[in-house]
């Protein structure tokens, strides 16, 4: 199908984009920012989404840069997945982000889709949402009232739901660099290469920064931070104990899992943890 009619604006600066968006929202228009468009345009073609106005921010230079600082790396929202996949940007994650980027969707989508667009959409099975939680990333938002920073673990609140206000633009994501003693593991289950995950487990451990976290995506809401399993993982518990803790975490999440889903999730979690420990 084809998208329904909409208006289109392409600002040349981020300030201009913020002004356009806030003006549109203030006047009650359903305005959306267009970054790579790889989800938004698909949803518009399916008429699941019919915004009245698209503000094309995909080429804004401010949003396409990556800033490498002493302890962190800041990715502009419109950095594409393939930039990360190809290692054309600094990598604060010691290989985790490029590995993730080459394992979702298709190359012809990854060349256009962006990390910021993926986070702003927050598909519950989206890879970046889970990975940014595991890395304890910070998400930068900009609006008419200024800038604010939200932790990735709080940013996604549900299925396609985030803390971003309608008149805010997701500007960047800042990731603390993993230390040389860190380890990570990622395990994903999809029935076909490139499909959204049925289960996605990400485990990151960095003793030098007192950080260990296991996150589970592909669930019926925002990715789950597995608090008990993360603690067990941090303390170097036996893998059976981590599995047991993860089962408790799934119960605590108050989401319904059938036996197959529970088994699948626990297996993905175990594999991610084993990989993190071996790395």
């Amino acid at each position: 199908m084809k998208a329904s009619a909409f208006d289109y604006l392409r600002p040349s600066t981020l300030d201009e984009a913020v002004a356009m968006l806030s003006e549109a929202v203030a006047s009650g228009r359903d305005a959306q920012c267009l970054a790579g468009g790889q989800s938004l345009l698909a949803m518009m073609n399916l008429r699941v989404s019919s915004p009245a106005l698209l503000i094309d921010i995909g080429r804004l230079p401010e949003l396409c840069r990556v800033h490498d600082e002493a302890n962190t790396t800041r990715f502009g929202a419109c950095v594409t997945h393939s930039t990360i996949e190809d290692g054309r940007s600094p990598d604060p994650s010691r290989g985790l982000m490029p590995k993730v980027a080459e394992n979702f969707s298709y190359r012809a989508v990854r060349t256009r889709g962006t990390i910021g667009g993926s986070l702003a959409l927050s598909d519950p099975a989206g890879d970046w949402v889970a990975v940014m939680r595991a890395l304890d990333a910070q998400i930068g938002l900009i609006g008419r009232k200024g800038r604010r920073v939200v932790r990735a673990v709080e940013f996604t609140t549900g299925i396609y739901e985030t803390l971003r206000e309608p008149d805010e633009i997701l500007e960047c994501v800042t990731i603390r660099k993993l230390s040389s003693s860190s380890g990570w593991g990622v395990s994903k289950f999809a029935r076909k290469t490139g499909e959204f995950a049925e289960s996605l487990a990400v485990a990151v451990i960095d003793p030098a920064q007192n950080h260990a976290r296991i996150v589970l995506g592909g669930v019926q809401g925002a990715p789950i931070n597995l608090a008990r399993a993360s603690d067990a993982f941090k303390q170097g518990a036996e893998s059976d104990d981590v599995r047991c803790a993860a089962l408790h975490d799934l119960q605590d999440s108050r989401q319904d899992f059938d036996e197959y889903q529970r088994g699948l999730h626990i297996e993905m979690i175990s594999r991610a943890v084993a990989q993190a420990r071996a790395s």
């Binding site: 698909a42 969707s105 012809a108 060349t111 256009r112």
Partner: protein, 173 residues
């Protein structure tokens, strides 16, 4: 909205409705019908083209967003040596039946070969997972791409002695 872009190496200008996808633009406005449309939501890969040197879905890019950009459709790649090797291989190895998916297969396979990601059947299968074919069962497509990749690599090796014999059509990086 008026747009101006480089299409198949030539600058073109057009007045478009802003909701026009790049796929509809090249097919309907530019009469370039090698770019096929099936699913129109990024799954089937039939509309894969090259934007700024990288493969992209023409159904998931607005023509308006391509204003000022460089786009190649399969028609513009007819003299590209990798495409020529692929076409020959698809022909010889029964890499197509109805031909609907073929333009997208060729553009995606070209990208795999140029990035050195067509070394094994497994790599080719993963690399082409975003291009659906409903006729061939993929076996002959994968074989076509693998043999094309081998032919391309051996052409590159022999051209190392004679660098002018292989010249890439520059579709960016």
């Amino acid at each position: 909205m008026k747009i101006r872009l480089s299409l198949n190496g030539k600058t073109v200008q057009s007045d478009i409705d802003v909701r026009t996808s790049l796929a509809d633009f090249v097919r309907e406005k530019m009469n370039l019908t090698a770019t096929h449309l099936a699913c129109e939501h990024g799954i089937c890969g039939a509309c894969t083209v090259v934007i700024n040197g990288a493969p992209a879905r023409a159904c998931l890019n607005l023509a308006a967003s391509c204003d000022g950009q460089e786009v190649y459709t399969l028609e513009g790649l007819r003299n590209d040596p990798v495409i020529q090797v692929l076409q020959k291989s698809f022909h010889e190895n029964h890499g197509l039946q109805c031909g609907y998916c073929t333009p997208g297969m060729l553009v995606s396979a070209r990208d795999l070969i140029l990035r050195g990601r067509a070394r094994t059947d497994q790599e080719i299968r993963c690399g082409l997972s975003g291009n659906l074919c409903r006729c061939t069962g993929y076996t002959s497509i994968v074989r076509s791409v693998r043999l094309a990749a081998e032919a391309w690599e051996s052409a590159k090796r022999s051209s190392a002695a004679e660098p002018s014999s292989v010249e890439l059509v520059t579709a960016g990086a």
